[in-house]
């Protein structure tokens, strides 16, 4: 297990270097550059040349990339020119916010998805199943920015139950209850699609398991149905469902950018969009590195969990 873990983590290094190289090249290839983004409509060739020199953009691309990589290996992600602060500070703050949002959404999605999937499988063909299937279809099809807006209008504007946007109240302390109140709507919005996917998969996995011999044996032995579903069937079905939850983690991270925009959540998705618009290469690189690392780690965690549940894998 230890060797497997080390191997997977070591595999992360070439992935990240390759990724950073691709991002760097894309940023170099798209028209417009940081100097132009800073100077805006008032850019003149003279001022552009001066700003490019100040930012080190007058060096050749390989030299720029090598310099960046050297600094990163030394633990320095550089300084964002558009924000006037160290990339690490900004990325750290913003990623923490995204992690809170995506984490809450993923937990919510897994809980709702499993619950709906199990109920639908157990009541296959019944009203509950049909309602669940319809709900899943709506959940998967609904664009998250639209759902978010509807929730805001209903819950925040009409009923005034929850705040409209932001991560903390604009005045006053930043305590946990405040955070939770701000978290509910964006987390629900972000969770809906993933919950739909998980529910659909759980349903089919459960249906397959429930047809198997060991379930029939258990029923014949007189094991209570509730116990059969939770202890026997669900455990077997989870082996199929867990990797999908891991993949959904990636989609949740990716989908966070819409939800962050609608709810003004100070996460890394919005940071990356702005960083690309201002051609802030260092900030884009730093953000992508962190998000990619998180994605790989999420999937690794899902794989590990799957191994724990099913000893046959990797034996």
């Amino acid at each position: 297990m230890g060797a497997y873990l080390l191997g997977r983590l070591a595999g992360l290094v070439p992935v990240l270097i390759g990724l950073s190289l691709i991002v760097f090249l894309i940023m170099a290839l798209i028209p417009g550059d940081p100097a132009l983004a800073i100077l805006g409509p008032y850019a003149t060739p003279d001022s552009l040349a001066r700003v490019r020199a100040e930012l080190g953009l007058d060096r050749s691309l390989p030299v720029q990339y090598a310099a960046w990589l050297g600094h990163v290996l030394a633990g320095d992600l550089g300084r964002s020119h558009s924000l006037n602060r160290p990339v690490l500070d900004e990325v750290g703050e913003r990623f923490a916010a995204t992690l809170v949002l995506a984490g809450a959404a993923l937990v919510l999605a897994a809980l709702i998805g499993l619950l709906v999937g199990i109920v639908a499988a157990v009541r296959q063909g019944g009203t509950a199943d049909r309602l669940a299937t319809l709900a899943v279809l709506v959940g998967i099809s609904m664009p998250s920015f639209w759902l978010g807006l509807l929730l805001i209008l209903l819950v925040s504007v009409r009923w005034r139950l929850l705040p409209v946007s932001g991560m903390y109240a604009i005045t006053g302390g930043e305590d946990l209850s405040d955070l939770l109140a701000h978290l509910v709507l964006p987390a629900v919005t972000l969770a809906v699609v993933a919950a739909g996917v998980i529910a659909r998969l759980t349903r089919s996995a459960m249906l397959e398991v429930l047809r198997q011999d060991f379930v029939r044996t258990a029923r014949a032995k007189g094991v209570p149905e509730r116990r059969i579903i939770v202890a026997h069937a669900l455990k077997a079905a989870l082996v199929t469902v867990i990797p999908v939850i891991g993949i959904q983690a990636g989609f949740v991270l990716g989908g966070a950018v819409y939800v962050e925009t609608v709810f003004q959540w100070p996460g890394i998705g919005r940071m990356l969009v702005n960083a690309i618009a201002t051609r802030d290469v260092l900030l884009v690189q730093g953000g992508v590195l962190v998000v990619a690392t998180a994605y790989v780690l999420f999937n690794l965690a899902a794989d590990l969990l799957q191994r724990l549940l099913d000893p046959r894998i990797g034996a």
């Binding site: 409509p41 008032y42 006037n84 925040s156 705040p163 409209v164 006053g172 109140a181 940071m271």
Partner: protein, 519 residues
């Protein structure tokens, strides 16, 4: 399904019980919603109107715009004199003013500020870049004969100089704070204004607090909090839910909603802005002035302003925005919407059915709704038999394309300028030697020696009435030659709750908040 529903209901109830939902904002705290997070709070670095709305509360310049106008009045300077030849401006500085870090404001601080902008060997020259330093390029040197006197010596007479001093680039920074903080000063600003900086949390808020040692009348709000609300729908919903007191730039769709409600107030003000099309006077069908005039006649500005922009702009008839009240010429009617006349001109020029390659931006500062406007203009041109082939660009890529000149492969391009003096747009974008590649923005390659002469004379003319007359003459030339198509002047809007008192929208689009209260 029952457990799920009760779990969600439980969460809602819990959140409601904690009382965190839309906690009312205290009376002495003003929350201002903005369209974006500020880019920089260093006035020497910043270029955005969005930033300026914060900057003018933190800093002061030697002069400022008198409320409701674009004319200057004393601020950190009590008075000034201009030499006979128009090259020396001597300012008498206010006494006893201190920066928020306790250091005194004096002539040396003024010298530091302009040295930093203009002198590449200045010790703080590398705390930039300073995109708008060109506003002061005419300054030869700044002298500080005594702590309360500062003298600017200009290379040549330059009438827009005072208006430039009132622009955010002229707001004076604390020399000590700049030297200590370097580039980080942009996120930890120190000025002399009625508010001082209290914090900036990325993409969440910028907080200012009342400056207890302010030399003038103390600010009324104890705290001002600026919130970036980038999503237009969120701006509206946050306002409806009571999370914001003042919202700058409400999306047009939402304005009508707030106009009809007694618990909100809508304020509007047309700014010193021009949205126009750069027309290629050097190549293609638009080389012929009749075709350029035809384009101007073809555009239905009234419909654009009223429908595409939903009343957030007014039609532009000429070069000078009505916000420049002293120079604006109300008798200049420009080009009315007249498709028949456009067709006739095209026939005369032999340009019927010509194809125009049209560069359109996807967004950008002051560009309003560029794609929708581009397609509406395309339809207007089609109505007179011109085919506009649109190519859209992301803003940054767009600037890179347009600012090098339209050249041989584009006929027209959208552009918008927000200016502080009627001199700025024609001098930088229409003068014959303001060529792209030589520090200018004349991307359409327009050249008219009469215009050049008038602009040069206006810069030398200190008398405002005489200057205004010169700009009106210059405007008449530009309207006749039509090197650009005049489209719209942007109208800024702000929605406030009915409780907000004492807020006036300025033609400069600045937002001065020290006198604002909540009932």
């Amino acid at each position: 399904m029952i457990p799920l529903r009760s779990a969600f209901a439980g969460l809602l109830t819990a959140a409601w019980l904690t009382g965190a939902a839309a906690a009312p904002v205290p009376d002495d705290v003003l929350v201002v919603g903005q369209t974006a997070e500020p880019a920089s709070l260093d006035p020497a670095v910043s270029t955005a109107t969005n930033d300026a709305r914060i900057l003018v509360n933190l800093y002061e310049g030697l002069v400022r715009y008198r409320s409701g106008t674009l004319e200057v009045e004393p601020a950190l300077a009590e008075s000034w004199t201009v030499s006979e030849d128009g090259r020396r401006y001597t300012f008498r500085l206010r006494e006893g003013v201190r920066f928020h870090d306790g250091t005194p404001f004096d002539a040396e601080a003024v010298r530091f500020h302009f040295g930093r902008l203009l002198d590449r060997d200045h010790p703080a020259a590398r705390t930039g870049p300073f995109p708008l330093a060109f506003l002061f390029r005419v300054v030869e040197r700044v002298e500080a004969p005594d702590p309360r006197t500062v003298r600017f010596v200009l290379r040549e007479p330059h009438a827009p100089f005072l208006a430039n001093l009132a622009y955010p680039t002229g707001l004076i920074v604390s020399p000590r704070a700049v030297m200590e903080r370097g580039g980080a000063f942009a996120r930890a600003p120190v000025g002399t204004g009625p508010f001082r900086f209290a914090g900036w949390q990325s993409s969440r808020k910028v907080t200012l607090e009342r400056n207890p040692d302010y030399w003038g009348e103390a600010a009324k709000p104890r705290l001002v909090i600026f919130r970036p609300l980038t999503d237009p729908n969120t701006r509206a919903t946050e306002m409806l839910a009571g999370g914001v007191d003042v919202m700058a730039e409400m999306p047009p769709d939402a304005l009508a909603l707030f106009r009809d409600r007694p618990d909100f107030a809508v304020r509007e003000q047309v700014g010193p802005h021009l949205w126009f099309l750069i027309l290629n006077t050097q190549a293609g069908p638009l080389r012929d002035p009749r075709v350029r005039q035809a384009v101007n006649y073809a555009i239905d500005r009234q419909a654009l302003a009223a429908h595409v922009l939903q009343g957030t702009a007014v039609p532009a008839h000429g070069l000078i925005a009505p916000a420049f009240a002293w120079a604006y010429d109300p008798s200049q009617r420009g080009y009315p919407h007249d498709p028949q006349r456009a067709r006739r001109l095209l026939r005369e020029a032999g340009a019927e059915g010509a194809t125009l390659r049209f560069l359109v931006a996807e967004g950008g500062s002051g560009m309003l709704d560029p794609v929708a406007m581009g397609t509406a203009i395309q339809a207007d041109l089609a109505a007179v038999g011109l085919t506009a082939r649109i190519a859209t660009y992301e803003w940054n890529a767009y600037l890179a394309r347009v600012n090098r000149g339209l050249g041989e492969d584009a006929d027209m391009a959208e552009m918008a300028w927000m200016t502080n003096d009627p001199d700025m747009l024609p001098s930088l974008a229409l003068r014959s030697d303001a060529r792209p590649g030589q520090g200018g923005f004349n991307a359409g390659g327009y050249a008219n020696p009469d215009l050049d002469r008038l602009l040069a004379e206006a810069r030398r003319t200190a008398d405002q009435a005489r200057r205004a007359d010169l700009y009106r003459q210059a405007e008449a030339i530009v309207v006749a030659d039509a090197p650009i198509a005049f489209v719209a002047h942007w109208k800024q809007s702000a929605v406030t709750t009915a409780a907000v008192q004492g807020l006036t929208l300025e033609p400069s689009f600045f937002l001065r908040l020290s006198g604002v209260t909540k009932r």
